[in-house]
Symmetry: C2
Subunit: 258 residues, 2 copies
Amino acid sequence: MPTRKFETVISLRDIKVACQECSLKEICLPVGIGQEDLDRLDAIIDRKRPLARGDHLFRVGDGFQSIYAVRSGSLKTYTTSQDGQEQVMGFQLPGELVGLDAIAEDSHPLAAKALETTSVCEIPFTDLESLSGQIGGLQRQLLRVMSQEIRDDEHNMVILGQKSAEQRLAAFLISLSNRFRRRGFSATQFNLSMSRSDIGNYLGLALETVSRLFTRFQNEGLLRVDRKHIELLDREKLCTYSGAQCAEDDVLQAEPNN
Amino acid sequence: MPTRKFETVISLRDIKVACQECSLKEICLPVGIGQEDLDRLDAIIDRKRPLARGDHLFRVGDGFQSIYAVRSGSLKTYTTSQDGQEQVMGFQLPGELVGLDAIAEDSHPLAAKALETTSVCEIPFTDLESLSGQIGGLQRQLLRVMSQEIRDDEHNMVILGQKSAEQRLAAFLISLSNRFRRRGFSATQFNLSMSRSDIGNYLGLALETVSRLFTRFQNEGLLRVDRKHIELLDREKLCTYSGAQCAEDDVLQAEPNN
DNA sequence: CAAATTCATTGATCTATATCAATATTTAAA
DNA sequence: TTTAAATATTGATATAGATCAATGAATTTG
């Protein structure tokens, strides 16, 4: 919840913040990169000033220059079909990357819009590319990140392809919870920066269905909802509801390397 | 339709076939790689003997060693959820790659099974990785291919998230048609190597729905179906049905660089 | 070649979830 | 603060497509 005033403070201060100090460094570039190489990587990363809610980081068709890492806040990515129908493709939380799908054709197939005040790191791709030719660990990490994204998308396919509304929303909440936790936020209490309509669109459900499910989950004692605020009361049961192997997820994703 | 006899012939002959002669070379490694580099790449690629229908190329949880390019035939990739329910994630046609989703965790999240007699090139990943550190064009191409895969998965999300049964099947057929054409096969006449059930599963539909739609499309004069054989009679109308920007697709994907 | 198995088609019915509609709440604007 | 515009909730109804069920090809097996 940075204020306008805060904005200018950030731009003064952040410009000097190095990757080493960035809370996201294990996520952006986890493994096997030495201090020296890290400095080189740091040198190419550009810290932009925050986006306001509703601002676009990029739009469909924009030329591809950079990938971005969310530092704080959140984004949604989406397309609009020719009949004006919007399809939400994903939500990006702190520590997550956007824009990897633009490499193939040198242009962004999705738009990315800030759901709240959001700041990102910009990583110019040509620099990253040439650097990753020199630093083995970086190349590998880049491939891993992309591979993981493919995997996540496959997971979404399963959800959209054969899960019930109830399972979809449960899985969505568990996924958010895991992602928050991994970044050091609370796994049981968080704010949804996206609207019910965004959630529904993302999950292939009507927004009314999402709303009804929230009330139902609340009545069943699984969680507490207050507008945007969510408190998960029975994570385990929610996992069961999601019909997924998310106990496994818990083990694998909980505090991976702290 | 290679026979058993043919199999041994292949193994004798293929072992000498170089990437340069491979009809897939523009697909596997399209751009900006010189002859010399191509030889180096060729040296690491292993040509395996064909898989029979039903054989697995790899299974869920198998350690990740290589990615594979389909040379002939076709594969399906799928997972099985804990309740035994299968989810088909994709079909791979000649010239397409499988296994990119295994890089992230060093193990295959999906199984890959031959839908018919199928031969593949095996590309050991560590070799590919070190080579791509040396050959700029290769690194870039690898990233492009992965990026494209993310894009394709995003496209699938749109289809599963908000298209009707009719639109899904139409889009599926158009996609197959485009992919066949790009590889030099007929765009209007082809065989489905997968069952109705596989198609339905992939599209998030019941197999009965798929069957009904085939008959309906046929009655409307859009296509002719005879068991596995498909002949597209009105591609344009099918595009309209799919509710997609596939006229665009046609332009972009038709014979990209011949 | 017959028997068994798998796969596909077609019909009848049921249901999860969309859609339509009204109201309430929150946020933004004036 | 008042008004306007989003956004969310809740209810009533409609429907696309699932599920159940029976039959008919095709393919595989012994």
